[in-house]
């Protein structure tokens, strides 16, 4: 009797335990949810503030307390901001650089990465080690010689110094990424193509490139982001107003019309929109690693 009693109590405590663990998990999840949501608000708040400001009148920008939702929205800020300076020219320059960089980085890193993944050659491992260690090199070490070289070639104040180097390997990290990707593909693919009389370049361009779409896409997106946003190299190489990129122009806009905060924010939002579009259309790649 006494024994059954203890078993019952034991069972009771057990169910009690699992219940409390369960409720603990639920409270944990709710707490996590609350914290994540608050954090997300904090992260997104500056963007919202930027957007709101871009639709204000000059006077509303300096209102105290702040105007959160300007009524009516000043849509005209956008055409005004984008025509004070010839932003269409800057957009054209930026788009040229970005598209060339995406093309150069994907193609050349795929070519080099394929060779490192699939071909046998003496010295390959040493070259690969050199490639990896070149990732650690701060760009500043080669910055001045690059400037001198491009100056000798007459490339300073043209878009060329910002475009041509990406065709030379497309960045060590991208090569590494492509190599890792090609290593995962089965070798039978190439063997079959060799037997069918395909040469190495044909195999690379007709069989390997189409298979590498996910890796190429990742590289394309990251290249897009970094070259769209690049400020340092355009600042160094582009001097004439008609050669400016969007990033440079935004900085120039600020130094000229910095007090027109509503217009500055409109121009900044415009600069962010293409990045946001690319980011959201590709978020699966980012978020899932």
């Amino acid at each position: 009797m006494a024994q059954t009693n203890t078993t019952i109590t034991a069972q009771k405590t057990k169910t009690h335990w699992s219940q409390s663990i369960h409720s603990l998990e639920v409270t944990g999840k709710i707490a996590a949810y609350v914290i994540i949501s608050l954090g997300a608000l904090l992260m997104i708040f500056p963007f919202v503030w930027m957007l709101s400001t871009s639709f204000k009148t000059y006077g509303q920008v300096f209102a105290w307390p702040p105007v959160w939702f300007p009524q009516p929205l000043q849509w005209k800020n956008y055409p005004e901001a984008l025509t004070i300076l010839p932003f269409h020219t800057y957009f054209k320059n930026t788009a040229t650089i970005v598209l060339c960089n995406v093309l150069g980085a994907t193609l050349s890193s795929a070519l080099v990465g394929y060779a490192f993944a699939r071909m046998r050659a003496r010295g390959k491992n040493i070259w690969f080690l050199i490639l990896l260690s070149s990732m650690m090199l701060p760009h500043q070490v080669t910055l001045i010689p690059h400037y001198v070289i491009y100056r000798l070639l007459g490339w300073v104040d043209t878009l060329r110094p910002l475009i041509i180097p990406t065709f030379l390997g497309g960045g060590a990290f991208n090569v590494f990424l492509m190599r890792q990707f090609f290593l995962t593909l089965p070798g039978e693919l190439e063997d079959a193509a060799y037997i069918d009389g395909c040469n190495a370049f044909g195999i690379w361009s007709r069989i390997m490139l189409p298979l590498a779409k996910p890796a190429l896409g990742t590289i394309a997106i990251f290249t897009f982001m970094s070259s769209w946003n690049d400020f340092f190299y355009p600042l160094i190489y582009l001097h004439s107003p008609q050669n400016r990129t969007m990033a440079l122009a935004l900085r120039f806009f600020q130094s000229q019309y910095g007090t027109d905060t509503h217009l500055l924010m409109a121009a900044s939002v415009t600069m962010l929109i293409p990045m946001m579009v690319v980011f959201f259309s590709a978020q699966k790649i980012f978020v899932k690693g």
Binding site: W64, M119, L137, W204, F279, V287
Partner: protein, 304 residues
């Protein structure tokens, strides 16, 4: 037999030629844009060079000038600013990124939307967001000081203040912890589930699982983030150039900003090359120390 062998040799040689043909774009870039350029930069660091006249050999003078001579005041200031930034921003970003990654690793509805939101600031960081923060930090009209005023705090002048300009930039850098976060997240998802199950069987509670499974499994990724973040913070430029121009009174004179000014505004290419090599050596030393220390705390599968 002999024929067969030579045939195989020629095939191997052919493949070797193909290999070098395929890597030739990178090889060309590496030889000219990396090797030759590094040699040139090293040579120029011992010269006085303004790009108009040919470089004049002056031995160690550039380095002496930086460490203890004419340029030492700005050099040490730039180094100090950069180190303060690195040692505040990197730990904040790495710890913040790690904690948020753990929250984000749960199976919650709509978690992908949250991950995207947290990652967004780090990927859009550039001139446009610098403009935004410039406005947020505005002492009179900025939203930050308005928020502080709501809780009865009179906010400082932020970017216009010698004391608060650098902390403001550090605060701003926190907004970008989504970068390390996604890398952690990828790592967390790669931890094999059976390790947690084994720990549960051994009676480990959630905290102990975190301590004895999650953290050891994540050390290689923490290490990677640490190395990359430090290299990154040493090269901060855009935010300082756009938002403070190094001021007030050099309070935010980041190292690369200083280098940029010496090279492209004063055209002291020789001195700037010396600055670049000092930066390179500092980064090498930091990375070396971290690699050395990593043996003590980074856990690699199968080694221990």
């Amino acid at each position: 037999m002999a024929f067969h062998k030579s045939n195989r040799n020629s095939l191997a040689r052919q493949e070797e030629r193909l290999f070098y043909l395929f890597i030739s774009p990178w090889l060309l870039g590496f030889l000219v844009l990396t090797c030759l350029s590094m040699a040139a930069s090293l040579y120029w660091s011992f010269t006085e060079y303004d790009m108009l006249t040919s470089p004049k050999w002056i031995g160690l003078e550039n380095y002496q000038s930086a460490f203890s001579g004419f340029d030492s005041r700005l050099f040490w200031q730039a180094l100090k600013v950069t180190l303060i930034y690195t040692f505040s921003s990197v730990p904040l970003q790495l710890v913040g990124g790690f904690l948020v990654a753990i929250l984000m690793n749960q199976q919650i509805k709509g978690i992908n939307v949250f991950r995207t939101i947290y990652y967004l600031p780090s990927i859009t960081a550039g001139v446009a967001t610098a403009m935004l923060w410039l406005f947020i930090f505005n002492p009179q009209f900025g939203i930050l000081n308005w928020l502080l005023a709501q809780v009865g705090i009179e906010g400082p002048a932020w970017l216009a203040s010698r004391k608060w300009a650098l902390p403001a930039l550090i605060m701003m850098s926190m907004w970008g912890f989504g970068g390390p976060m996604v890398i952690y997240l990828a790592g967390l998802q790669g931890i094999p589930q059976h390790l947690y199950e084994a720990a549960k069987i051994d009676g480990a509670n959630a905290f102990k699982q975190f301590l004895y499974v999650t953290i050891p499994q994540m050390t290689p990724i923490i290490f990677f983030n640490l190395v990359m973040s430090i290299i990154g913070t040493f090269q901060v430029f855009t935010s300082a150039f756009v938002m403070t121009a190094g001021g007030p009174v050099n309070a935010t004179l980041f190292y690369v900003l200083y280098l940029y000014r010496e090279a492209f505004q004063s055209f002291r290419m020789g001195y700037a090359s010396a600055l670049a090599w000092v930066l390179f050596i500092i980064i090498m030393i930091f990375t070396g120390i971290q690699v050395k220390l990593s043996g003590k705390w980074v856990y690699y599968e199968g080694i221990r």
